[in-house]
């Protein structure tokens, strides 16, 4: 299991990287953390003619507060950094909560935020988390840049709206509105194994005289379809409702019925996954509403 030969480019600036991307086009691959790409190359299921290594571009490693109270995160920020960073813990606790579920510590040392997003593995945690948070991605090419909303970015398995001449450079996380709660839940066969199903939830309550009702519910599932699945039907059933066990059960059932399209593999049948969607949605919403109520 040794990789096939390739040309190697180690740009030190985004500009240089974009030049390489523009020149080399399709057969080149971007090397971020490499924790999904390199095993695939070791199996020789990927044999890119060239790798463009982003690990030497300092301007892609950062976590900054944004003016709106959210966060701006450089695409090459390591998962292990996200895991330890106080700003993340404070402003994006949902991201922090998902970290231990991403493979193992040795993988998170190298794995990056942007890499996980661009790889678009439907069983990955960070795509679902960013969809739940309503994150936006900054994408650059030589001509300029554009912002893409997380929920539109993912097309299907390993496929995104990124064009071959484009580079994902930054993730923008919006601030958590007041009276918001969050939860991350995942069922995997063992620590670090692919999630059979996972869910990231962020809910917001309003504060009406009649008591707190759900103003917004963003629930995104992993391993429940060909991309991170945003639960629109579940949200509909919740908006305007008091977060009762009743309402949560209804939302969880709606999610399992209408918001996901799970597949079968050797670890889990589609039926089992649908069942887990219901179970985890209920657990996540319960926890998220509790947090929102405090």
């Amino acid at each position: 299991m040794k990789p096939a030969p390739f040309d190697y480019y180690a740009p030190t600036s985004v500009e240089q990287a974009l030049d390489h991307v523009a020149q080399l086009g399709y057969d080149a691959k971007i090397l971020a953390g490499g924790q999904s790409l390199i095993p695939t190359m070791n199996f020789r299921l990927a044999q890119p003619s060239a790798l463009i290594d982003l690990n030497n571009i300092p301007e892609l490693f950062y976590i900054r507060p944004s003016d709106d109270g959210g966060l701006l995160i450089g695409a090459m920020t390591r998962q292990s950094t996200l895991e330890r960073d106080p700003l993340i813990a404070e402003r994006a606790p949902l991201v922090r909560a998902a970290m231990p579920y991403i493979a193992h510590p040795q993988i998170r040392t190298r794995g990056t935020f942007g890499g996980s997003i661009a790889h678009a593995d439907p069983s990955a945690e960070l795509p679902a988390v960013t969809v739940a948070l309503g994150a936006r991605y900054r994408v650059r090419n030589k001509a300029g840049e554009r912002w893409i909303a997380a929920e539109e970015f993912f097309v299907s398995l390993f496929t995104t709206l990124l064009q071959p001449d484009e580079l994902l450079v930054e993730i923008a996380l919006p601030p958590m509105p007041p009276r918001s709660g969050w939860s991350f839940q995942e069922v995997a066969r063992q620590s670090g194994a692919y999630g059979l199903v996972g869910v990231a939830a962020r809910v917001t309550l309003d504060d009406t005289p009649s008591g707190r009702r759900c103003r917004q519910a963003r629930v995104a599932f992993l391993s429940a379809g060909e991309r991170p699945m945003l639960a629109q039907h579940a949200a509909k059933t919740l908006i305007g409702q008091a977060p009762t066990a009743e309402a949560i059960r209804a939302a969880a059932e709606a999610a399992a019925k209408d918001d996901v399209d799970p597949s079968s593999d050797i670890h889990a049948s589609a039926d089992y996954r649908r069942h887990l969607v219901k179970v985890l949605a209920a657990r996540a919403l319960t926890e998220a509403f509790q947090r929102a109520n405090i």
């Binding site: 299991m1 040794k2 990789p3 096939a4 030969p5 390739f6 040309d7 190697y8 180690a10 490499g34 924790q35 390199i38 095993p39 070791n42 199996f43 790798l51 290594d53 690990n55 292990s80 231990p100 493979a103 193992h104 510590p105 040795q106 993988i107 040392t109 190298r110 063992q190 620590s191 670090g192």
Partner: protein, 160 residues
């Protein structure tokens, strides 16, 4: 283009200058170019943890990096811990608790644990099990390894 890259890597405090093909995996570089064969290869797809080394002080899977990426970086391998006559406290603890049998996975466990113990002096069994979850051992059922970590954290005491 000639597909060879000159790199400079510091391993266990020693500076090495070599020329490598980009596709050369870091673990093969460490084992076969530098003859530091204490780091072992178990799966080459990043799941078993056997090839764990410290890269700039943090544990990584050396089967999931290319040697060329180590250019200008610091690596620490099991050879950089104790010696046969003077074992590192963690190595001593492994011996005293019989935390290794065939010993093939052991260097990976040691390199995962060294920074972990330095960061977390006092540990619950649950935390230890989580910290070990990225390393597979087929011989011990992990029980004596967990004993070793507890013993080592006593030996190493609270970090300054």
């Amino acid at each position: 283009m000639t597909n060879q890259f000159p790199i400079t890597v510091t391993v266990n405090g020693v500076r090495y200058e070599r020329t490598v093909e980009p596709r050369l995996l870091l673990v093969d570089f460490i084992r076969h170019e530098l003859s530091l064969t204490g780091t072992h290869v178990g799966c080459e797809h990043g799941v078993c943890g056997t090839c764990t080394v410290l890269f700039d002080g943090q544990p990584v899977r050396s089967c999931l990096m290319f040697a060329v990426q180590a250019n200008g970086h610091e690596i620490r391998t099991v050879e950089g811990l104790g010696t046969m006559d003077k074992l590192h406290p963690l190595q001593e603890a492994f011996r005293e608790t019989h935390a290794l049998q065939c010993g093939f996975c052991t260097p990976g466990f040691l390199m995962t644990l060294v920074p972990f113990l330095e960061e977390n002096p006092k540990l619950s069994e649950g935390e230890i099990r989580q910290a070990l979850a990225g390393n597979l051992c087929r011989c011990t059922g992990y029980q004596h390894i967990i004993d070793a970590v507890k013993l080592a954290s006593d030996k190493m005491g609270v970090k300054p």
